[in-house]
Symmetry: C2
Subunit: 418 residues, 2 copies
């Protein structure tokens, strides 16, 4: 079968499963999720065996160590995948929730009911655990899912898919509720992102290159972020200890996540007290610092930051540092160089905190806490399918609610319009 | 100047105005709206004169009577435009609203703040009053607006734009907050819908042809609906009088709106009691009925409905009628032929009402009231920029809230992630 026909079949099956899933009971969805967790535990050996084949092939292909690490399943990782499914089962069901029901002068009651988006396409790279995570979030939110993982993880993904299918079947839900593509042909991705009749939204998870390609060619909405050039701004009136603790945590707790700080802005009035102790902590942890001229006057060991540095998401032990003369200058710097992902201010000044909250146009704006909190689990969403830096539909961490929409409902008593 | 450069300038000015508007005070926005209303009243004669020139040119070009009617401004229409601006001033300001603030186990408080989308592009046809309406909704929701009206209304639109600019200036807001394009070159539309760096969303208002073209070529999100093939389903357990009253109103209160019923579905068990009196009312009002075989057996004067009729938005005094054997058959018919706009059920059966509400996947789902209520004013949104049948971001009538997004805010006390 050619790819176009294959994807047409997948799309049609997903659309038809979506209609059933939209009205599936909470009990059936939770039952399926728990059955999937049971299957994953029961088939641990098969999962490890499939993953071993993937790993052997990937090593033979010379895959980089970091990618091999992401591809690798361990007994602990398998248990945590099963627990993740159970955690999604324990979350409240967003579908069918009725809110804002108000009586209007005409006599009708108008409100909103939360409903699934329909069919969600997920495109991801090496991590096989995304297969279980994404399946769980889509199912719980009443959406059918079409999953397309990296080609190096195909055997692992199909083994996980078998657990997912068995769980669906055990709960009496259509097995086509979650479909893992059996082809690794790139053309399948091209079809998936251009079938608005079958797919309602695409969530790409992976590197910037993958996401840029998909965003450029997609003919359906995409929930995505491209960059996380996140800032911490230490205001003139910051608590010094708090500022250092937050800046240290935002940079060094982990280097690779998208919510890690990449540029530190410091008010000139406090720089001489912040930068010497902070730079010592960061140097001791092996972080490379790249500063503006004023910062380098205080800390001569810093390298010079270039214009390019202000725009760069290092995802590494590198930090750019700039001294600014005012809150306005900090907000302007963020507007000019930021990626609208996550920015934090450290301040004891109420007006500065309120202005920063209101004026910084990012998906998460934080006062006196680390940027590392910008995360679905930390925000209480229970899980996260991705982070969006777009303003349309969903912004910031996207959980179950971001995979739903709200329709209007009207409860009348025979009213007509006059 | 060529069109590309012209639109680049317009886009850059809008983006820069948007940043100021996002933090403009409610008082300044409301002051501008009231000043605009004052200007429109004060310049009534200039508006009528500009409109007379548009009308003369349009008549010379042989514009159809219906379009001339939409193009025409009257003293009453001008007063109602001014009142519309004052009504938007009286609506609550959605920007800055903080909701869902919850304390998390880590100690941080997480919530959401409502923020403008940024820059809204509105593309519309002959009606000049859209210029004032759209400017008002965008301004109140903190968005900059780029307005592109029909070429036949250019003089009227520029005269209204002068009132809008004067109102903005009186309130100290940037005049580029609302820009009405001074060119009628079609290439300007092509640029407008393909400048994601300057424009965050496009709202096309007009005929299906216009909207299809824009949706096809847009490189930014579009809030739109293409069709309104709306259904009323009269269930077996309907109150007979109520069913007839609602079906009559849904079809005949006005023929042209998108929320007017185009297909009536009737349960077989009640058809013999509903269709004879209802068809008499509709025939008396000059409505053409096109029925399935079973309906025609009851009402022989009906024409035969073709497969195409079930998919057609007549926007005219025509109604297609089908007898169905069950609620399931009604829901299936709507899923197959509907446009996900607005559907109503008339029933006294609780379970049927609940199933219809949950299972019908339309932007508005109504129990025991006319489809004609699917409207921003009737729903209490205060005003409406359009109706969306997409599921992403905004569904159904779109008011101020649909022109905003929500960012996450975190209020901390020095928390770091561990």
């Amino acid at each position: 079968m050619n790819i176009k026909d294959y994807m047409e079949n997948v799309g049609r099956a997903a659309r038809s499963a979506a209609r059933l899933l939209a009205t599936a009971s909470t009990a059936a969805k939770n039952g399926a999720l728990r059955a999937m967790a049971g299957q994953i535990r029961a088939r641990k050996d098969q999962l490890l065996a499939a993953n071993a084949l993937d790993l052997t092939a990937a090593q033979a292909d010379g895959l980089a160590a970091a990618l091999l690490d992401r591809l690798s399943l361990t007994p602990a990782g398998i248990e945590s995948m099963a627990q993740g499914l159970e955690q999604v089962a324990a979350l409240p069901d967003p579908v069918g929730e009725i809110t804002d029901l108000k009586r209007r002068p005409s006599g009708i009651q108008v409100g909103r009911m939360r409903v699934p988006l329909g069919v969600v396409g997920i495109i991801y790279e090496a991590r096989p655990n995304v297969t279980a995570d994404a399946a769980a979030l889509c199912l719980k939110s009443g959406n059918a899912a079409i999953l397309r993982g990296g080609k190096e993880a195909l055997r692992s993904n199909l083994a996980i898919a078998a657990c997912v299918q068995a769980g669906l079947a055990a709960a009496g839900l259509p097995e086509t509720s979650v479909q893992v593509l059996t082809t690794t042909d790139r053309a399948a991705v091209g079809e998936l992102i251009a079938m608005p009749q079958y797919v309602d939204v695409i969530v790409p998870r992976g590197g910037k290159g993958l996401i840029e390609r998909i965003a450029k060619d997609a003919r359906v909405p995409v929930i995505k972020h491209l960059d996380g050039v996140c800032h911490v701004y230490i205001d003139a009136d910051a608590n010094l200890d708090m500022a250092i603790r937050i800046a240290d945590n935002a940079k060094t707790q982990r280097y690779a996540p998208c919510n890690t700080m990449e540029t530190l802005l410091v008010h000139a009035a406090i720089a001489a007290r912040v930068l010497p102790p902070l730079s010592k902590i960061l140097f001791d942890k092996g972080v490379e610092l790249r500063g503006c001229e004023q910062s380098r006057a205080l800390i001569p060991q810093m390298k010079a930051a270039s214009e390019e540095d202000w725009r760069t998401e290092y995802l590494a032990a590198i930090l750019s540092i700039r001294i600014v003369d005012s809150l306005d200058a900090a907000i302007d710097h963020i507007a000019r160089y930021g990626s609208q992902h996550t920015e934090a201010i450290v301040t004891e000044d109420y007006s500065a905190a309120m202005r920063f909250l209101r004026e910084v146009d990012s998906s998460s704006v934080i006062v006196n806490a680390s940027t590392r909190f910008a995360d679905g689990f930390e925000y209480g969403l229970g899980a996260e399918i991705g982070i969006s830096t777009d303003k349309f539909h969903a912004r910031g961490p996207v959980g179950l609610e971001g995979l739903t929409s709200q329709k209007w409902i009207v409860l009348g008593n025979g009213e007509i319009r006059t």
